[in-house]
Structures are given as C-alpha cells and as structure tokens.
C-alpha cells in the first residue's frame, strides 16, 4: 500500500495503532479500528471512547516507539515530518495522510480501512463521506456565488489558500476564495484584504481566541466592512472545520446551511 505522501506502507497484521493527531484519531475510530488504538495524541478529544486511552506526545518518537505500534497514523495537518521520518527509520510502519480536499479525504478513509485491516468499513466510510459532501455541494449550487476568505487567525491575518481542504470547502459551499495561491497553504496576508470590495464572506472556526481576535479587528479600521455587515462572518464548529477527518462533511453541511439561511 502507498500512503498519501507516496511512501510505501508494508502490509501485515495490525493489533496496535497509534494515531498522532486528532484528525487521524477520528479516522481510525470511524474506519472501525477503534479497538486497536493503543494511545491517542494529547490534543485528541473525539470520540468519547478515547477517554480511557493513554496519551502520547506526537513529537516524542521514543514514547511512540515504546508503545510498540504495528501502525502509526500521521498527518500533514500538524505532525512534524522529521518525527515521522525518524519513526520510519526505526522500522515503525507509518501511514501518512495528506488531506487537501474532500476527494483526498475519501481516499484517506479507504486507505485507513485498508492499512488497519478494515477494508469494508473503510470503504463504507469513504462512500458516506463522499455522499454527504456531494449532497452538501449539490445544495450549494442553488446559492449565489460569493467571494470569501477562510480566516485562520485575525492578527496577523492568516487565511487558507488554494490547495487546502478549507479552500475546497469554500468552493463546494459556493464561495470563491480570494486568498492568494502559490504562497503556501496558510499565508499571512495584508489586513487590507478585509477591505477589498470584492470580499463578501469570512468563514471562521468558532474558537474563543478567534472571537476575541474579531472583536479587536472590528475595533480597527481594517474591520469596518465587518462592522457594516458588508462582509458577513460565518462561524463554523472549530473541531469539525479545523480537522481534515471524517467529521469534515459536517462542517461543510453547517457552512451550506448558514448560507441557505442567508444566501
């Protein structure tokens, strides 16, 4: 098997799985391999079954190896590639996910099922993710197309660029991303972009820091279009929208529903 970074994942029996990030933790459980998970990363908080599991720091190769995993699930959304490389060098079987779109998420579901020994459940999950995403995308076709930004941070202003799953989510929800391409996945951009007359929607994960950041931004000149309502802010449940895992379709559905309520 080949993972999403193009590296070979040797086959073999799987009895112990260690995911290194919340998104791949959710993926392991959703793909039916929850009973194999031996430890979860410190930041994981879903599903509730993880409460009984030991925690591991995802950048602590020694602690990960000590857990004697048959498979380590890694992600490009937050894991240090040097640690992942080191684990491979130590002979650990590693499968890296690189979800940059909903189509890649569907692939990741299948891959997780195959690697963890649950191909049928992985396939079922892939089909479910694909179908939910397609239905939400279809609903959004009836909505007027708007220009948008996916705001990762307000001060400095950091947004999701083309080539990210956030960009794909905007696109599927009938929103055109105004973020620049070819400057990285999550570039820091000029705060003047918030005053761009083309900008109509800002999609933001609902976190306390970002709520406070918005309050500070609206108190400055850069926030005048947010204050006047010329730019509408749509808040999405942060855990759903920030993690490229199996709950991502729910974030898309929430975004489409918010747009349907006020096109």
């Amino acid at each position: 098997m080949i993972d999403q970074l193009g590296d070979a994942v040797p086959g073999g029996p799987v009895r112990r799985v260690v995911p290194l990030a919340p998104d791949v933790t959710e993926l392991a459980f959703a793909a039916g391999a929850g009973s194999l998970v031996a430890a979860v990363p410190v930041a994981a908080d879903y599903p509730t079954e993880i409460a009984r599991l030991p925690r591991v720091a995802p950048n602590d190769a020694e602690a990960i190896v000590a857990l004697r995993p048959d498979v380590v699930l890694a992600t490009t959304a937050g894991n240090d590639p040097r640690v992942v490389q080191r684990l491979r060098q130590l002979g650990t079987r590693v499968c890296s996910m690189d979800v940059t779109s909903f189509a890649r998420l569907v692939e990741a579901c299948r891959l997780a099922g195959d690697v963890l020994g649950y191909p049928a459940q992985g396939e079922r999950l892939a089909r479910e993710v694909d179908a939910r995403s397609a239905r939400a995308t279809e609903r959004a076709r009836a909505l007027p197309r708007r220009n948008a930004l996916y705001v990762v941070w307000w001060e400095p202003l950091i947004v999701a660029a083309p080539g990210t799953f956030h960009d794909d989510m905007l696109h599927r929800a009938g929103l055109s991303n105004l973020a620049p391409a070819s400057v990285g996945r999550y570039p820091r951009v000029d705060p003047e972009l918030l005053l761009d007359p083309r900008l109509e929607v800002a999609v933001v994960p609902d976190e306390r820091d970002l709520r406070e950041g918005l309050a500070r931004t609206t108190a400055s000149a850069a926030g005048s279009r947010l204050v006047s309502g010329a730019v509408r802010v749509i808040w999405l449940p942060a855990d759903l929208a920030n993690r490229p895992g199996p709950r991502l379709p729910a974030a898309l559905e929430a975004l489409v529903a918010a747009r349907e309520a006020r096109p």
Binding site: G78, V152, W153, E155, P156, L157, I158, L178, A179, P180, V183, G184, P187, R188, V189, D190, P191, E192, L193, L194, L195, D196, P197, E207, R208, D209, L210, R211, E212, G213, R216, S220, A221, A222, S224, R225
Partner: protein
C-alpha cells in the same frame, strides 16, 4: 556633496512615504488612493488609505527612525560598530516578554502585549546595566558581553515558548519575533510618537558628547564630557526608543545596525551630524521594507524584518566595498 546627499535622503523618504500610501495594499488601486490624497475618493477607499495605510506609514516612520537613532547612538557610545539594540539584548528582552504575553495571557487580554514588550525591554536594559557594572561604572566591553548574555537568554526563552505555545497563538508570536507593522493603528501612533520624542531629544542633545566619546573616554573627559552621566542617559534613551519600537512592531532587525553605517559612509563620521540623518534613513528603509513586504507577493505579506535586511545588505556591501 553632503547637501546633495541630504536632499536625496529627504527625497527618498518622501517618495517612499508617498508610495506607501498610493501602492500600499491590495484593496485600493493607485488611482483610487491618489483620489483620496487629493481630497476625494469613496468612503471605503478613504478608510483604506487614511485608516489603514496612513497609520501603518506613520508607525513605520517612527519605528524605523527610533531603531536607527538608537543604533547610531549605541555604536558611538560603545565605540563598537556591531552595537545595536539587538546585540545589547534590548530587542530580545522586549520580544521575549511579548512572546510570553502572547502565550500566557487570556485572549481578551492580548491588547496588553505592547505593554509587556516595553516592560521586557526595560527589564533587559536594567539587567544589562546591572551585569556590566564595575568600580568605574559599566564599561563598553562589559555592556556588550552582558547584552550578548541577555540576548541569548531571551532567545532561549522565546524558543521554549514557541515549542510550548498553543498552536493557534503561534502566528501572533511569529509576528513579534519576525517583525510586523500589520496591526498599526492611529491609537498606537498617537501613543508611540510622543513617547519617542523625549529619548530622541536626549540622544540628539548628546550628539557632540557621543562624538567625543567615540574618540576615547579619557580625551572626552578631558574635553568636559561627563562620561558616566552621558553613558547612562544615552543607554537608557536608546533602550527606551527600542522598547517602543518592539512594543508595536516586534523585532525588526538590521535597521539599527546597518543604517548608521550607511549614513557614515555617505556623510562621514561626525556623530552629531550622523544622528538625525540616521533617523531619517532608518525611517525611509523601514517604510520601503514594509512596502516591499506587502507588495512582493501581494496580498500575502512577508515579515518586514526579512525585507529590511534584504534591502539593507546589498547597499551595505556595495558601500563597504567602495570605501575599502
């Protein structure tokens, strides 16, 4: 020739300021910005030019002038061409405190980051002064060594906090450590501009003393310079300037180090004449750096400290080679 260079410096500064207002960012075209500067323009574009670009320009001017003036004064005070607010640990102390504030404060209190930066710069200044004390007061060599030590400690503290910071806060921390003028506001400028006036005046007032000190402590003392008093006042004033700059713009390296050398190569070694020119040149370099940081990959922004270094190094090398 010097008068021509003076005029060229003023022309560059004015041109950079005008360019920052006209070409500043992605949301308004140069034509629309020019309309605003001519007294017209739509309310939206007026907000962009007068509410965003103008405060950012003003902050860049004040920060650049402060850093360059502090650097020129410190180089003369310590008779060391490598002296600048960064080497002496002042910027590092401010950045470490700002980083700690970013990491530790609740979201609602992040407006307190500039105050933390100023407190950190002040603490670093006090620490350097205390470490460098000797029977005859702090010596230049001990001050630099103390600065290097404080800087190393500040860097270690920043790296520790970067490793431990909650990941959503990292962008703010990086803006502090790599410099950013993106959050400039009229309120910040209204606070900072009067604040820097006093230390800037102190440094300009001691221009002659600094020039004499640069030739040696004994000869300066023989010519009536109160060495210990001048050293204390100049160091504290330079630190105050730097603390103000770090508080609102983070660490913008290189301006304080290279601008005085650029000016020295053009206008010669007289410290009294150098100080005001270094301030103007530092302001111009920072404005140009910020403009390039915004425009090079617009609407993406580069860290302004990176761009000021990229701008300054080639000029510095060319002038250095020419003077060799």
């Amino acid at each position: 020739m010097k008068r021509g260079a003076d005029l060229a410096l003023v022309a560059v500064l004015l041109a950079a300021a005008a360019a920052a207002l006209v070409f500043g960012g992605p949301a308004a075209t140069p034509g629309e910005a020019l309309a605003v500067l001519s007294g017209g323009g739509s309310p939206e574009v007026r907000t962009i030019v007068l509410g965003l670009r103008l405060p950012r320009l003003a902050l860049a001017l004040v920060v650049g002038a402060s850093l360059a003036l502090a650097g020129a004064a410190l180089q003369a005070l310590l008779s060391n061409p490598l002296a600048d607010p960064f080497l002496l640990g002042i910027s590092g102390g401010g950045a470490a405190a700002a980083t700690a504030a970013y990491v530790l404060l609740p979201a609602a209190a992040l407006g307190g980051v500039p105050a933390a930066a100023m407190a950190g710069a002040a603490a670093a200044t006090g620490l350097v002064w205390w470490m460098a004390r000797g029977p005859l007061g702090p010596s230049p060599t001990r001050m630099i060594l103390a600065g290097v030590a404080v800087n190393a400690a500040a860097s270690a503290a920043i790296l520790t906090m970067l490793a431990l910071a909650p990941s959503p806060r990292l962008p703010g921390v990086i803006a502090v450590t790599m410099g950013s003028l993106a959050s400039a506001s009229a309120g910040q400028v209204a606070w900072l501009a009067p604040y820097v006036l006093v230390p800037a005046f102190v440094l300009l007032l001691h221009g002659r003393d600094l020039g004499l000190l640069a030739t040696g402590e004994e000869s300066a003392a023989a010519l009536g310079v109160e060495v210990a008093t001048v050293r204390r006042r100049v160091f504290m004033a330079a630190a105050a300037l730097c603390g103000g700059a770090v508080a609102f713009a983070g660490v913008i390296g290189f301006v304080g180090l290279v601008t005085p050398h650029l000016c020295r190569l053009v206008w010669g070694g007289s410290t009294r004449r150098l100080l005001p020119r270094a301030a103007l040149a530092g302001a111009a370099l920072t404005v140009l750096g910020d403009l390039l940081a915004r425009r090079a990959l617009s609407p993406a922004e580069l860290p302004v400290g990176v761009v000021t270094a990229l701008l300054g190094v080639p000029f510095f090398v060319a002038l250095l080679r020419r003077s060799a």
